[in-house]
């Protein structure tokens, strides 16, 4: 406890402030771009997969063979149930193959994507399942093809829900970046671990946490506002 209190003595605070000014801008930048890129790739993989989960379902607009759907579901559930820390280690060979190294901010994007895309697929699935089935029936009754139903009905009608869910994805991935930062990645997570855990500089740790929390707030409120603005069901 005394050691904890010592961490906030004036000279320590001054040091923390120094770290804040010199290292945080770079850390923040790394965290933000890793988060955004990982989210982008997770959506690129997760969106089609989520669509497939809905349309290929037994009761979907284009049912796929049941065993295939079963396999897809098992893989998604498997990836989602492996703890992120272990997943990071598991995908090191893949990371090396893609990035050339398993260390650093860029390399940390790979495990983040692997961890997040099944999550995004499930989020997309739930967004698309919210859609009123009568709307799909309408589209079918007008002679829409499967692709037209997906791109002209399901996705446009689900935009607000998708934005809300992608916001959830981005804030979750942000949390993961802190973890991957601690495990050889970069960003605020790395700073927090380097100073806080390794050198007992708690003031830096707390500062990093505050910045991360603020970042989550920013992403969340931007996402929430965007979703509301895009939703034409809300009377204005």
């Amino acid at each position: 406890m005394s050691q904890f209190a010592k961490a906030f003595e004036p000279d320590k605070l001054q040091e923390a402030w120094h770290v804040f000014l010199t290292e945080f801008p770079q850390g923040l930048w790394e965290t933000v771009y890793v988060t955004l890129l990982a989210t982008l790739f997770a959506i690129l993989l997760g969106l089609p997969l989520g669509i497939l989960l809905v349309t290929g379902d037994e009761k979907g607009i284009r049912p796929l063979p049941k065993p295939l759907m079963k396999v897809v579901n098992v893989i998604i559930n498997f990836l989602r149930s492996v703890p992120f820390l272990i997943l990071m280690v598991m995908v090191i060979p893949l990371t090396r193959a893609i990035v050339g190294t398993s260390i650093g901010s860029v390399a940390s994007i790979v495990p983040l994507v692997v961890a997040a895309f099944p999550f995004v697929a499930r989020l997309v699935e739930s967004s698309l399942r919210e859609l009123d089935p009568n709307i799909i029936e309408m589209a079918q009754s007008m002679g829409s093809s499967t692709a037209q139903i997906i791109f002209r009905v399901m996705l446009p009608e689900s935009v607000p829900s998708l934005v809300t869910n992608f916001t959830l994805a981005i804030t979750t991935i942000l949390g993961y970046t802190a973890m991957s930062g601690a495990m050889g990645g970069g960003g605020l997570g790395k700073i927090a671990i380097n100073y806080g855990y390794s050198r007992y500089k708690y003031a830096v740790l707390y500062l990093a946490v505050i910045v991360l929390v603020l970042l989550v707030q920013v992403f969340q409120s931007v996402g929430t506002r965007l979703a509301a603005r895009l939703d034409k069901r809300i009377k204005k």
Binding site: D132, N134, I135, E137, M138, Q140, S141, M142, G143, S144, S145, Q148, R152, V153, P156, E157, V159, P160, L230, D231, K232, R233, I234, K235, K236
Partner: protein, 344 residues
């Protein structure tokens, strides 16, 4: 012309098979406004969904101008669905698209050039009376207005058949009236064939020229609306035409005398105070238990359930008097005779 031939549909559910349609045979002629009426669960939605193959019939066929729709490829079926379009109880508009975009939707599906599609959509919004709502989102419209947009959308591809599945069931009576009027006007102007699915008698009476009564997946009665309604034969039809009698909630016989049903088949008799003149001319003060008069097409018609007090003598005089009035048919209501009423 649409012909349903021995159409059957069986759903296999966890609780066993459900026969939603049993050997349905119907013919809908071009330009008809054809009503299909039945109680909840009678199979109306299933029937209409079989017409555009949203539901594949288990047996039988649907012929559109002699073409068997069940034999078409998926692509061909998509083309047919631009000729046979549909409106729904819940309107089913795209909530994230403007009214204009909604009406353009079926045209975009067939890659109509944008300018052309937009011109057509605006013209249709004009037809349905909403020219100023082009850039408004459906959430800002009332139910009746939303259904108008849905009608405009259904007409975009210039279909020959419009299917309406409970299209007015979510609307209040006044709005229902105006939507039905719109459908009738479109039928008149374009000659489009309309199939109206409903559980409301009044809807059929308002716009249909022909009607089929569906009960437990089977057609129990079919024909011209004025015929079927003025002389319902099947019990299901009677229950729909005279719900107050079927439900037992309606007027109750006093128990003295004989019940008669008068059917009016001409506009003049409705205005003529038949009961009053019978009272003056024959001295029989009939007790009116229920009455309902309506307009079908250009013809007014209606029914009246009356009770003739007294014995066989009065009954005979009353019958004779009424039978002499033109355009009125009188039926002795066996099931409501005095004896039964006494027991009740």
């Amino acid at each position: 012309m649409i012909e349903l031939r021995n159409l059957s549909k069986r759903f296999v559910t966890a609780d066993g098979p459900v026969d939603a349609l049993n050997n349905v045979n119907l013919t809908v002629n071009d330009g008809d406004i054809y009503g299909i009426i039945g109680m909840s669960g009678a199979g109306k939605s299933t029937l209409v969904r079989c017409i555009n193959m949203l539901e594949r019939p288990t047996e039988g066929s649907v012929l559109l101008d002699g073409r068997d729709l069940g034999a078409l490829s998926k692509k061909q079926m998509q083309d047919v669905r631009r000729e046979v379009t549909m409106i729904f109880q819940s309107f089913n508009l795209l909530m994230q698209s403007t009214c204009l975009q909604n009406v353009m939707f079926p045209l975009k599906l067939i890659h109509t050039p944008r300018a052309e599609a937009e011109a057509r959509a605006r013209e249709l919004l004009e037809t349905v009376g909403l020219p100023d709502k082009a850039n408004v989102y459906p959430a800002q419209l009332s139910g009746g207005q939303q259904q108008r947009v849905a009608i405009a959308r259904a007409l975009a591809t210039k279909p020959r058949v419009l299917l309406c599945d409970e299209a007015t069931s979510a609307l209040d009576p006044k709005t229902t009236q105006s939507i039905l009027e719109l459908i009738r006007q479109i039928n008149r102007d374009t000659g489009i064939t309309v199939i109206v699915i409903t559980h409301q008698m009044s809807v059929v009476q308002e716009i249909c020229n022909r009607v089929a009564i569906l009960e437990n997946g089977a057609v129990v009665e079919e024909g011209d609306v004025s015929q079927v309604f003025s002389r319902p034969r099947a019990a299901a039809t009677r229950a729909l035409v005279f719900p107050e009698m079927a439900s037992g909630e309606g007027p109750v016989s006093t128990g003295y005398g004989q019940l008669l049903r008068l059917i009016f088949e001409g506009s003049i008799t409705i205005d003529k105070p038949l009961i009053a003149s019978m009272a003056m001319d024959c001295g029989i003060a009939a007790n009116i238990l229920g009455a309902s008069t309506r307009t079908v097409g250009k013809r007014e018609y209606g029914y009246m359930l009356i009770e003739i007090p007294g014995g066989p003598d009065e009954l005979a005089r009353a019958l004779k008097y009424i039978q002499n009035v033109p355009d009125v048919v009188v039926q002795v209501e066996a099931q409501y005779n005095g004896r039964e009423a006494d027991e009740a």
